[in-house]
Amino acid sequence: MTEETASQGIPEPEGEAAVIETDYDVGQDNVEGSVGPFGFDIHNPVFMISGLTVAGFVFYTLAFHSQSEVIFSWLFDVVTKGFDWFFIGVANIFVLFCLFLIVSPWGKVRLGGSDATPDYTYMGWFSMLFAAGMGIGLMFFGVSEPMTHFSSAFGGVEMGEDGLRSDWSPLGGAAGNQYEAMRLGMAATIFHWGLHPWAIYAVVALALALFSYNKGLPLTIRSAFYPLLGERVWGWWGHVIDTLAVFATLFGLATSLGFGATQASAGLNELFGFPVGAATEVVLITGITAIALVSVLRGLDGGVKVLSEINMALAFLLLFFVLLVGPTLALLKGFVESMGAYFQYLPALSNPVGRADTNFMQGWTSFYWAWWISWSPFVGMFIARVSRGRTVREFLICVLLIPSLVCVLWMSIFGGTAISQVINDGYTVAQDAALELQLFKMLDIMPLASMTSLVGIVLVMVFFITSSDSGSLVIDTITAGGKVDAPVSQRVFWCVLEGAVAIVLLLGGGLGALQAMVLSTGLPFALVLLLMCWAILRGLMNERRQLKATEI
């Protein structure tokens, strides 16, 4: 056929952009074929290695349960406690880097070339940002985290026998001072959910979007390393980077699905009296996976996007309900005060060295930073996928500043209401409840409790579904060497595998061990992200040069 005679033409993106000249063709390492009637198009060897590694780790965790638990939690301790300064330090760099890019002239560079137009509206884009990486967390921690920090700060500083602090309060605490404890509690919560996590996601997303849409490299994690590794990125260096990303994404999703099912079944038991136990949990995971599959089969626009928008609307409804029914004026005032407290405590909270509040710094901040960073390949890649056509400035404002603001609003309304229930009404049930029930206990003494609780449960489930769906999309793209048009059966494969791994680990034990393992991948990825910042700078500089050259 004439296929081979068709010339590839000179690289020419939409408008101006500086495509990287490489001899690598997207999909050149791919293997195509079919298993029975189902076709496949996978990257060799990333797909096989990823699949085997996943199977290997599941087997190891099940077969050597106690040993794996010891090893992985040791690893996790070393990572979050030994490298706390590193996590906190690099996260600060990411925030400053993103803020700098917003005001720098490089902010003008458009992802996809100077004439590209956005694929999604603000609303759709925005909803998907939350759906992938943070929605579930907001549901679980919206009430419990401000409450926990408030309580521990109120309790003040306690010294252990070893001369180190044994309390978990942030910074110096605020012993006996309700107002100050609340401010400190809100500041600490916002610190964990505001600029820092979103900056982590933004760095990965920006690197991938830039190198894919503007530089013409395949949409996989390794592409961001091209400025550093050059053509070697298509070899084993790249295979390792991509496999690590698949590993972190799949186990990150599977373990949180497993734990999520445990929590959701506790919630369902509390609210509707469903029996608690492995059977309910397996049914929940199967159900969530099944609905995620339907969403997978409906694709990005008909599946994830629609579900994300529905969920966003529901979440805002719940937010406004709590705002209106709760102590409205106090909450609005609280929002402004929390922002003030955040900026006041930000320098102290983000200080990486010489801290006395070891428990808080290692157990909360360092843990969260490892968590966000280990999720960043997944969330970053998904954000990149939906962000074509935005300028760097627009991208960072919408991925960093606005989501941070939404998180502040969410935390100050949910946390504020719960704390106000404790302070003003003496209602401590929510404070004393298990983590996954705190939101529901708070809603309990508000009007229409059965309805709002149901909305809460639906939100948790749908956030799980959108995470599972977008996760399968991301893993499939990575294991297909950056091709986004591989047969859908592959996405189905990953989606099912994720549910299966969650069930096997839930029944066989080992969710905790593997989650510790996944969080430990945050350490190598933190280094990876630092390098990405450098790669972004080089890429943007080159892009600007090109733009200027054509203007002249």
């Binding site: 056929m1 004439t2 296929e3 005679t5 068709a6 010339s7 590839q8 033409g9 690289p11 020419e12 993106p13 939409e14 952009a17 495509v19 063709d25 997207v26 999909g27 050149q28 029975g36 009637p37 189902f38 996809g112 070339g113 694929d119 999604y120 894919s212 849409y213 013409g216 490299l217 395949p218 949409l219 089969l297 409906r298 694709g299 990005l300 626009d301 008909g302 599946g303 996928r385 939906v386 074509r388 950056g482 091709k483 986004v484 048009d485 591989a486 047969p487 859908v488 059966s489 996405r491 189905v492």
Partner: protein, 139 residues
């Protein structure tokens, strides 16, 4: 009878579409029709172009080489979709409207059990398109 024939092509696998391409060329000769080659790409880099513009160029040169080989008028239209694996059918139906084609000639595989989960593109287009559709089995 027909003035513009739309032929959807899977550009990276165009070699597999031999029969459909031949039939389209024959019909174009018979009716003195123009053949419009349509292909769908994602906005991310792919094997046939590192961006949609490059992909459109690849398709254009494919179309003109087809036209030159078979001696019929040819044109091309590259469609961009955010999720081509899933939105293929809808994108092709949109292309059918936009190009104003009055006949679609497209390749399809022999139906198999996988079609219950992932229905074939040819079947869906034939069911939904407002114009005549000829589905050519490629074995």
């Amino acid at each position: 009878m027909f003035t513009k024939i739309m032929v959807p092509v899977d550009l990276p696998h165009a070699a597999r579409l031999e029969r459909a391409l031949q039939v389209a060329a024959d019909l174009a000769g018979l009716y003195q029709a123009e053949v419009c080659y349509v292909a769908v790409t994602a906005s991310t880099p792919g094997p046939k172009g590192r961006n949609p513009e490059e992909f459109a160029k690849s398709l254009e040169s494919f179309a003109s080489s087809q036209g030159a080989t078979h001696g019929h008028r040819s044109s091309s239209r590259a469609m961009v979709s955010t999720d081509p694996s899933i939105d293929m059918d809808d994108t092709l139906l949109k292309a059918c409207k936009e190009t104003g084609a009055d006949l679609v000639v497209m390749a399809s595989h022999v139906p198999n059990v996988a079609d219950t989960l992932f229905p074939s593109h040819g079947g869906k287009i034939a069911r939904k398109a407002g114009v005549s559709v000829m589905v050519v089995r490629e074995g």
